[in-house]
């Protein structure tokens, strides 16, 4: 789960990471009051969205008066930043930044541990820096027994060229950030830029925290946020989420449902390889029951882009007969009229095929054959 900047900054503050004073508002009319309250002649107004690259997409603006704060806020609230509508803005005093640092913690798959990453060249171009000047990126892999100790933060600080009081402050911030990483079961915690101000302070100008969805069960305080996020999804996406299936909408006309992310991705690849365009990615997961599979088919039925449904199942935990019955059910009970192309193999394949053929469905054993048929049918339907 991704958190909004203002939510993350609240967590940062509570854990001792310095952040700018600021207020989040949902109504532009509140902007003037916030501007006066902050008591800074120049403020930054930041659209609260979860997508990355917000600054480059015009989601960050500045204001130097109450009027401007209000007009800028009303521009940003309700606007779409890279396809995501900003419901609120965060207003903060503009910092006098002397240098932009980068500090982030995530999981390193290769090393199988968390990694703390720092750079003296933070800011919007940090990824370019990583590519072109890898020596400007410093990392510490966290030892599972030692975990993260303040000296490691100071070591990183020294490696990116800080000394004296700044080194000490950076070390403390890194330690707090690691505490947050563990405490919140994060997959990412990041401050970019982590700003050194002209007054010699280090402040998290921006803040990100993504919590691992799999760990949300032990962070009950986020339950209400989970519900809020759910409410923001499209109707079909919400349905998919509640069903526990992975569903992504795309631009084509071939509806695709598979079991397992890898096989479903490969199905999309194959459809494209033969010249077709997938309408979606739907991974029904392993071991879905007949009922669950029927409901997943219902999602594709309701998606108006989907002109035909390509079912690609190689059953392990899932059972082919359950899938076959789900298809038959969907046709009978959901009144589905969209044509099917069905590929079934694996557990209870014979039984599954028997059910399908008894109900007038053709089925395939090889996914290449089925994919070709789906592409052919899509072309026919579009004529």
């Amino acid at each position: 789960m991704k958190l909004f900047e203002y939510e993350v900054k609240e967590i940062f503050r509570n854990e001792g990471v310095p952040t700018p004073a600021g207020k989040v508002i949902t109504d532009p009319k509140q902007a003037a009051a916030v501007y006066s309250e902050l008591g800074s002649s120049s403020v930054v107004v930041k659209a609260q969205v979860l997508v990355g690259g917000r600054g480059k997409a015009g989601g960050i603006k500045f204001a130097t008066s109450t009027q401007e704060a209000e007009s800028v806020s009303s521009e940003l609230i309700g606007s779409s930043i890279k396809g995501e509508v900003a419901k609120s803005v965060l207003i903060e005093p503009k910092l006098n930044i002397k240098q932009e640092l980068y500090l982030g913690i995530t999981w390193d798959r290769g090393e199988r541990s968390p990694v703390v990453i720092a750079s003296s060249k933070g800011g919007v171009n940090i990824e370019e820096v990583a590519q072109t000047q890898p020596e400007a990126i410093k990392k510490i892999h966290v030892d599972p027994q030692l975990r993260f100790e303040p000296f490691m933060g100071r070591k990183l600080a020294a490696e990116i060229g800080l000394n004296g009081v700044l080194l000490q402050k950076f070390g403390e911030i890194a330690t707090h950030l690691y505490t947050i990483f563990e405490k919140y079961d994060a997959e990412l915690v990041e401050s970019n830029p982590l700003a050194i101000t002209k007054d010699g302070e280090i402040i998290a100008a921006d803040a990100r925290l993504n919590i691992v969805d799999d760990a949300l069960f032990r962070h009950k305080s986020f339950d209400s946020k989970t519900l809020e996020r759910l409410a923001e999804l499209s109707m079909l996406e919400r349905k998919a989420k509640q069903l526990g299936v992975q569903y992504v909408e795309l631009d084509g006309s071939i509806g695709i449902i598979g079991n397992g992310a890898g096989l479903t991705m490969a199905t999309l690849d194959l459809v494209k390889f033969y010249g077709g365009e997938p309408a979606n990615f739907l991974d029904a997961g392993g071991g879905s029951s007949e009922e669950e599979f029927t409901q997943a088919l219902g999602i594709l039925n309701e998606n108006p882009r989907v002109k035909l449904i390509f079912v690609n199942i190689l059953a392990g935990i899932t059972r082919c007969d359950d899938v076959a019955r789900a298809v038959v059910n969907a046709k009978k009970n959901l009144g589905m009229t969209k044509p099917f192309v069905i590929r079934l193999a694996g557990t209870n394949e014979v039984e599954g095929r028997r059910i399908l053929s008894e109900n007038g469905f053709k089925s395939y054993s090889a996914m290449e054959e089925a994919a070709k048929e789906a592409v052919r049918m899509a072309e026919q339907l579009s004529r």
Partner: protein
Amino acid sequence: MAILIGKESRVIVQNITGREGSFHAKQMLSYGTHIVAGVNPGKGGTKFLDQVPVYDTMQEALRETGANTSIGFVPAAFAKDAALEAVESGVALTVLITEHIPPFDTWKIVNYALRKGVRVIGPNCPGLISPGEAKVGIMPSSVFSPGKVGVVSRSGTLTYEVAFQLTKSGLGESTVVGIGGDPIVGTGFIEILELFEKDIETEAIVLIGEIGGDAEEKAAEYIRRNVRKPVVAYIAGRTAPPGKRMGHAGAIVSGSEGTAEAKTRALESAGAKVAQTPDQIPKMIEYSLRH
């Protein structure tokens, strides 16, 4: 011979009385896997299917049966506890099927296993199978057949797909290992490549990767230096829309874009062949073995 599991494997199933555990224990038994014990705290002294003794603890199960392998079907919230118990008990190999285990839990399991010298496969994986010898996993047995191709994969069902194609072509598989798709896994591509390279039964290797991360790029580097057997790879997700970005840290850590193109480039420059569709894989293997 195969790798990691075979006729000599003596397997304990953790949570053998659970819904998934009992279903797959049955499947494994009927495949011929030596399931020597089940472990369910509180159900010690009972028998599974009137034949497999169930114990309260891993330690007891190991002492009574001389098992060397375990497989866990324990729900995510309790999986860490069960996996640590398995590692501590002294099995040589433990397979974690469970998905949705938080990475901090996996980190703890993996590091404890490292200290104890125990190999962990998974989590969030289909397990492994040495066709004709033993299955310690949840894959549908019918798509596999004994043969000469070693398969290692980050995916689940896509692995079955590829094995199915190898079976149909008559090549068959020596061992098929699903290493799991989580950020932190017990065993990676490289360790399995190393085992396949040494295994006399394995004549060629199939590596199945996915977009994201840099495990395939690292595997490519290993192949370049250490693998003489032919390797055919397949990367799923070449047409996936650009995913939602996860801050900058991911890209900074790996220094790789994690795209199918980047992975294909890395693998091909290391001397591996990369298939565009699953059904090209057997043809490429056959070609490599002839030349």
